[in-house]
């Protein structure tokens, strides 16, 4: 495990093609809203919101960014609208209740292990605590019958990743082509790229 993230495409930004044929109108509309209308807290209470932010900082740390990709606000917005994802696994309650219960359980895990709130723990302890849940070593007593690993992977982590990698900054950092309609791509072979794609991975240059 490394502590820092070393970007392979440091100067690439998919937003630079905004005015090109790679972006159709609806894509521009969707991204404009995502970038400019970051939702305000509505569903979670202040304590839950701070806890979730601390968790998101561990799930996708962005220490190098002055303007980190916002994640908590979009989770809260989905919960406000009562959005579901089509699957409720056995033992996991309805979406809103599942998040409330999961956050309470992580708070309880922190209290039981360290006698303090998760938010107050140092980053190393926060990460270790989340790894235990991810690895299936949560304390069932705190989870009130909800399968902890299942919640962590299938509800929490999945949603966090879906939000992070839907953001242009995250897509730029991995060299993804980004929006591509109506214009797609011409050069399909290995190490071949169109001028509107990320230049070659600097590690290969």
């Amino acid at each position: 495990m490394t502590d820092s993230f070393d970007p392979p495409y440091p100067n690439y930004d998919i937003l630079r093609k905004w005015d090109s044929p790679s972006y159709n109108q609806i894509t521009r509309d969707v991204l404009t809203e995502r970038l400019t209308a970051v939702p305000q807290r509505q569903f979670l209470d202040e304590q839950e919101w701070r806890l979730l932010q601390a968790i998101c900082d561990q799930l996708v740390p962005q220490p190098e960014r002055t303007d980190p990709v916002p994640i908590t606000p979009f989770i809260d917005a989905a919960l406000t609208e009562n959005r579901t994802n089509g699957t409720r696994f056995a033992g996991i309650p309805a979406m809103r209740e599942a998040w409330r219960k999961g956050l309470a359980a992580i708070r309880a895990e922190a209290m039981a292990q360290h006698d303090t709130d998760f938010v107050s723990l140092d980053a190393h302890r926060q990460e270790a605590l989340l790894h235990r849940i991810n690895d299936g070593d949560a304390e069932p007593a705190h989870w009130d019958g909800m399968p902890a690993q299942r919640f962590f992977r299938s509800v929490l982590l999945k949603e966090v990743l879906a939000i992070y990698y839907a953001h242009p900054a995250a897509q730029s950092e991995i060299g993804f082509g980004g929006p591509a309609a109506p214009r797609g791509y011409v050069r399909m072979g290995a190490d071949r790229m169109d001028p509107w794609e990320a230049p070659a991975d600097r590690r290969n240059r």
Binding site: P7, I26, G86, T87, F89, L130, F176, P179, A181, N204
Partner: protein, 547 residues
């Protein structure tokens, strides 16, 4: 992205969206709810949409209802995974069993055009022997349809969708050439080809439902790679831009955002029509025949929710098989890093296929087969796979994701055995329409695991031989099949070989829930071929006055 409950129907006032034009409309014939139409069809995906076109073209009056919206791809589809969640069935379903299935975006569409709006366009035929799996291969059930008949239907569907495919296909009996030429391979597909060459098995350019040259109002595929979340150019040939426009032109009415909650039956036990909700109103459509085409979860759910004094255990369920023998495909994969940049986001995700293990009976010790294809997951899709299979998050996940452009993968569509314990039932809890939620139970059997293990070992060797490093593997499932299987008698099945209920003579099923076995290929072409077959049979029966 918009929530389905906030959308308003578009197919109203004598017109329906023109899928090929910004803001465009095409004229649509409309029927009154009290007008008894020949056929009302529940669902407009690979099964229902295809059937609607075929029946309307044969002169029947048709009203097809879909719970989902009627999209215009050119203006409605963004290059954005999160926004495009709007294509999926996101209402909650309860998923249980030893290996609970992920539903929603994994396998369930909710749009006019159904799951074909987001399918990966892999257009494969069943192996002929699979239609007699029990007799010739020793597992599962035989199908009540002959493979030669199905092959005629496949040919019709492949022409209707102008499948782009190779001049010769390495496996199975000789077939005619595909209507459009095959697509060029992307780097991801070349990896699959290289692995097969090294291991000495055949591979092929994948027959694909996106056009390699202009077709009418569909431009040639521009290899944008967002196929799985909706094609924004109309190059993809889905039910939405093929059979649905045909159905409308032939006089069918398509009602979008219409959730059917019950099939109604009369005192004699025959179907009289459906109850549905549209735009906040509860309505009824009368019909001489009702066709249920809601796929493997919604079809059994609707039938079970349509119980009546004559049908106490649910409609068409005297066999007790409604909802039973639900199948998926195992979707195991091996992923590896390549020194060169693959950039698998370009082109349709699965441009190359290996069906070797669907045909090589003598070299394996399990029932069923699998195909594997090259892969091209979009960023959030791949991030989830990485997190789930490697158990990582945090900086390590970001670092691994930084290799996104160097990755390639091989993933199976693996046949699972039909087991009656795998099923769809009604839960106690109800949804916003007042219909009980579906409870879906799924557990793999030993044979399913053996097949998956075999595939993982083979694909590891193939990916490694192609130059892949730092290999890792993932599990999961794709597709749904079964739940209302077709068969030979009222004891062994829900419907006969024409899709007609054994119990209710004017009730039909036309979707993937009919499958007695799953096969080792993506199901959409077989669902469409069944729809063609059922439409032809209905025409024949009508001609004999036997409807």
């Amino acid at each position: 992205m918009p929530l389905v409950e906030h959308l308003s129907p578009r197919a109203i006032a004598g017109r329906a969206p023109d899928v090929f034009r910004h803001g465009g409309w095409v004229p649509m014939r409309e029927y009154g709810d009290d007008e008894e139409v020949d056929f009302t069809i529940v669902g407009t995906g690979a099964g229902g949409g295809t059937l609607a076109a075929k029946l309307a073209e044969a002169g029947f009056s048709v009203v097809a209802l879909d719970a989902g919206p009627f999209w215009r791809p050119l203006e409605d589809f963004a290059s954005d995974e999160r926004h495009q969640d709007k294509l999926y069935w996101l209402d909650e379903r309860i998923s249980e069993g030893n290996d609970p299935i992920e539903l929603g975006g994994n396998n369930s569409g909710r749009s006019v055009g159904g799951s074909t709006v987001h399918y990966q366009m892999v257009a494969l035929r069943f192996r002929p022997e699979w239609f007699r799996s029990r007799t010739t291969l020793g597992y599962g059930h035989d199908w009540p349809v002959d493979w030669r008949r199905m092959w005629e239907c496949y040919a019709e569907v492949e022409d209707a969708l102008k499948i782009s495919g190779p001049l010769t296909y390495p496996w199975g009996p000789k077939r005619g050439r595909y209507p459009y030429r095959e697509h060029e391979l992307n780097a991801s597909a070349e990896v699959l080809a290289r692995g097969c060459e090294e291991l000495g098995v055949d591979w092929s350019a994948c027959p694909t439902a996106t056009v390699s040259a202009r077709r009418g109002l569909s431009p040639h595929c521009v290899y944008r790679g967002f196929c799985k979340i909706g094609c924004a150019t109309n190059a993809k040939q889905s039910t939405l831009n093929t059979f649905i426009p045909r159905a409308l032109a032939a006089g069918a009415e398509i009602r979008d955002l219409s959730m059917v909650t019950r099939v109604e039956t009369g005192a004699d036990g025959r179907a009289t029509g459906v109850v549905y909700q549209r735009d906040g109103q509860v309505r009824r459509q009368r019909a001489r025949h009702v066709v249920v085409a809601g796929y493997s979860i919604e079809t059994p759910r609707l039938l079970l929710n349509s119980a009546s004094p004559k049908h106490p255990d649910g409609l068409a369920n005297s066999s007790g098989l409604v909802g039973r023998a639900l199948m998926v495909h195992t979707n195991h994969a091996v992923w590896g890093r390549f020194q060169e940049e693959i950039r698998w986001y370009k082109g349709p995700p699965s441009l190359a296929v290996c069906e070797h293990w669907n045909y090589a009976d003598d070299e394996k010790d399990f029932f069923g087969g699998y195909a594997y294809m090259s892969q091209g997951p979009l960023p959030t899709d791949f991030a989830k796979t990485l997190a789930e299979s490697e158990g990582i998050f945090g900086t390590e996940l970001r670092r691994r994701m930084a290799d996104y452009n160097h990755m390639a993968g091989l993933k199976i569509v693996g046949e699972t055995m039909p087991q009656e314990r795998n099923r769809v039932e009604l839960a106690d809890e109800t949804d916003r329409y007042g219909v009980p939620l579906a409870r879906v139970t799924y557990s793999m059997c030993e044979n399913d695991r053996q097949l998956a293990d075999h595939s993982l070992e083979f694909m590891r060797n193939a990916l490694s031989a192609a130059g892949g490093q730092e290999l890792f593997q993932s599990g999961g499932t794709a597709h749904l099949m079964g739940g209302c299987r077709m068969g030979f008698s009222r004891e062994d099945s829900v419907v006969d070989g024409d899709g007609r209920s054994w119990d209710v003579g004017n009730l039909w099923i036309c979707d993937g829930s009919l499958f007695p076995t799953g096969g080792g290929v993506n199901p959409s072409m077989t669902i469409m071929a069944l729809a063609v077959h059922i439409a032809d049979r209905i025409k024949t029966l009508a001609g004999q006055d036997a409807l």
